[in-house]
Amino acid sequence: MSQVNRLATGGRVDRSQPVTFTFNGQTYQGFAGDTLAAALLANGVDIVGRSFKYSRPRGIVAAGAEEPNAVLQIGSTEAAQIPNVRATQQALYPGLVATSTNGWPSVNTDMMGILGKVGGKMMPPGFYYKTFMYPQNLWLTYEKYIRKAAGLGRSPTEVDPDSYDYMNQHCDVLVVGAGPAGLAAALAAARSGARVILADEQEEFGGSLLSTRETLDGQVASEWVDEVVAELAGMANVTLLPRSTVNGYHDHNFLTIHQRLTDHLGEVAPMGMARQRMHRVRAKRVVLATGAHERPLVYANNDVPGNMLADAVSTYVRRYGVAPGKQLVLSTNNDYAYRVVLDWLDAGLQVVAVADARSNPRGAWVEEARARGVRILTGSAVVEARGSKRVTGARICAIDVTALKVTSPGEVLDCDLIVSSGGYSPVVHLASHLGGKPTWREDILAFVPGDGLQKRECAGAVNGVFRLGDVLADGFEAGVKAAVEAGLSPVEGSLPATEARHEEPAIALFQVPHDKPTARAPKQFVDLQNDVTAAGIELATREGFESVEHVKRYTALGFGTDQGKLGNINGLAIAARSLGISIPQMGTTMFRPNYTPVTFGAIAGRHCGALFEPKRYTAMQSWHLQNGAEFEDVGQWKRPWYFPKAGEDLHAAVARECLAVRNAVGILDASTLGKIDIQGPDAREFLNRVYTNAWTKLDVGKARYGLMCKEDGMVFDDGVTACLADNHFLMTTTTGGAARVMEWLEIYHQTEWPELKVYFTSVTDHWATMTLSGPNSRKLLAEVTDIDLDKDAFPFMSWKEGQVGGVPARVFRISFTGELSYEVNVQADYALGVWEKIIAAGQKHGLTPYGTETMHVLRAEKGFIIVGQDTDGSVTPDDLNMGWCVGRTKPFSWIGWRGMNREDGLREDRKQLVGLKPIDPNQVLPEGAQLVFDPKQAIPMQMVGHVTSSYMSAALGYSFAMGVVKGGLKRIGERVFAPLVDGSVIEAEIVSSVFYDPKGERQNV
């Protein structure tokens, strides 16, 4: 029998189904129905990890989400690694592989532990802030080693083999937690006909009812659970979500539920199943029945393995048939904790003693324990645990809780398990995620949820209701109320009978006094996960950290995956005492999502890989692929970047493509340009207001380039707009700016000028655009169109309608290369066929497909800007030397006019766009390089501008660039210098930004 701590009978585990697993390389056996923690305890595994800061051995403390120590790494392969799994929340499955997160070379013989013992005294709170502060630039180095030593969990480095899901849900009532309150609430709401979702983080519904010794209707409580779950499961209006943690309570009753669909089956999901699912729920009402966590007492060496929560031990005994020890000592301040004593006795084990801080406890459970011969030491507490790797004894002393003093020398009792209970802390996390501050209730010594604007009720233990009969009633009432608030009719129901019992109140006790002052006593741990001690909190308050948020950050109390589930209330009670204020004055820290860690997989859902972001392709995509295009991302668009021939790199291909356009003809897929169809009698007036230049006199059949500014006078988009009819225009925008411009037009129309009759329709995807550019473009186009291309019949900056490649087309004679160019627009559905016809006809004209890189070079040779590359939101039209595009006499004060005439917009030394010609014709200035007038000046140099576009030009035979230079337009002929990172300097002459065909003759043929 390897499961040394497994009881002979009892528990909800299936003893006929042994399950083999490994922990830290050793093979163990548990049973189906175990959690990993239950199985480890059954096998007598005391140490599950080493502590974060002091590297002390740590064992399992709790049985649920509040477990601070057994935070393990799961996974047998690299791809299956999951960090930060609480052993108390992981169902055991065959072949499970778990390892400790901390501990080197092993958790049992830990080198860091020795350092920790020495370092312990040397590592007060704020140690890292104080020690590793200087020099600042070494912090990254320190951090790497600190993290390694601290041994936080690690992410897998291989691709996750599983898939994950999202599901959007709506419901009338979402019930969080399926303990007694949650089940009663769900039952009430569901019977009223409400659409109910019931979510619980555990493997089974029932919560505390699965392990309680209390009966319902005189029967084992879990029988009532079975009945209720069966009824709910049979109702079409109810969705049951087990293994589902409600992790976040977000605005307007939006909650996220992390459901682990297959984590209990194995480390990789079975074929065809999503491993986890994120439910995104919009609930009309929410019932929070999140229960309460037992609060441990803070006494010396309370972190030695064998110190556990009272409730947790009851759960292990009654639900899993595991006794994590032989001889039990209980230290408590309340009646409820006596249940563990009775459970322990029922299991045939020895209760050494109970230390009760109260002077004369007479509750029913206390009396029952007393009647069964348990030695009860009143007015006492366990002040110190003995043992190093496992508890060997407990020192119990009489204490004065008011003066917080030890009043007797006490006695040391041999034992191997100390359980403590300082009362219950309602799980107020979800109720507080949106900022509702919890309220302190002195009668139950706990924070309960404060007022929240959310449409929610709280029920049961989270509400400060602990007696089982009251919990059920509170839950049922909350369920009725939620259903009514959601618009349904109330129902009545009867609840099972509970046992009547005399209970007595608890006495306030958080930190147990020690004979030595806190700072000199053995460590009294408050937050086990972050190694925060009572002494550390006292020190923080002495050093002036008085706000609870400051104490938290200085000591790390409530950090990490723990989020203060176990230690927060004790921590702030100690801080409050040190500062001489009350607990409600101290207040709690902010509770934030997520309640327990969520995998990145569940957050990403299906939005990964190919589905991460939509990709947009033009109608000619298949041709581009067949012809070997390299692609460039432009927003979501995939655009051909260049079309390399065998053996060509980017530069060779671009040089060839550029020369083809300059000397013969090229074809570019320009379909991605934004296109907005503008109609209405006031369309022309609207254009006047949003473009910098004038549109009043643009005739039907003509097109014009326009610049768009924001109200501050800075350029934000540009493009050509054509007049299709007197009340009908087609606007083009930059590829990346299409959506932005559309929203821009709409906001001005809808909010400022609704009286203008004008309508905007995005037609970007409806039209495909192919640009024919080069001296042979007219001859080529003539072969596939019926449009008269005569230079006088179809002049520059005009457009014609006709047939191209046998389909209706709009052809615009506009040019972004400076060459004779035609932009052919056809319905996207026809575009591939038209494109192929043009390609076929182009053979004898030397037609060459070109991509965005060649387009960039060609336009730059002409000094044409690209908004977003040559501009950056701080550049006016005048800065771009594009004053010709500014309608200075337009009657309406168009967008940008007032802004660009601010004092700052008129400065003569603004950075202005100029051409830059490197003195060495083979040197290409790096784009983004900063420019200076004097390269010999001391660092930091005075920067006077930067390079915006820079290329090698095959047509010119030298490198060239554009850039902005302070007062640059008056500095033509002067020199600027670009000092580079490697220490070299490129010298360039400031020249006109139009490098090629400055008179514009080539496009006017």
Binding site: D251, H252, N253, F254, R282, L434, E743, Q750, E752, P754
Partner: protein
């Protein structure tokens, strides 16, 4: 995630369908040329950052593409109302006068 009632669609929809466009009721001055640089700067750059009631401009970007205003509480994130452009809010910060932009606006 906010739940926003689009007054044009007449439906409560999720925040991810909307874009926030900043403070509402800042009309473009009717005569920009009459504004001093300081006044124009106020119109362009300066916005309120209240703790409490705030009127905001939103657009149902992935829906009807229409702009509308919302009165939202900046602490609780409660949306007290949404209303079409040109309409007046029913909820305003108690006693606090609405800040006036440099000139009378048309509708916004």
């Amino acid at each position: 995630m906010l739940h926003i009632f689009c007054p044009h669609c007449g439906e409560l929809r999720s925040e991810e369908e909307f874009h926030a466009k900043g403070q509402a009721h800042i009309p473009r001055p009717l005569d920009p040329a009459a504004c001093s640089d300081a006044e124009w700067g106020d119109y362009l750059f300066f916005r309120d950052n209240p703790r409490g009631i705030h009127h905001e401009l939103w657009v149902h970007a992935a829906g009807c593409r229409q702009y509308f205003n919302a009165t939202r509480h900046t602490v609780t994130y409660e949306i007290l109302e949404t209303y079409k452009i040109g309409e007046k809010p029913r909820f305003t910060a108690a006693g606090g006068a609405e800040p006036q932009a440099v000139d009378q606006g048309v509708t916004a």
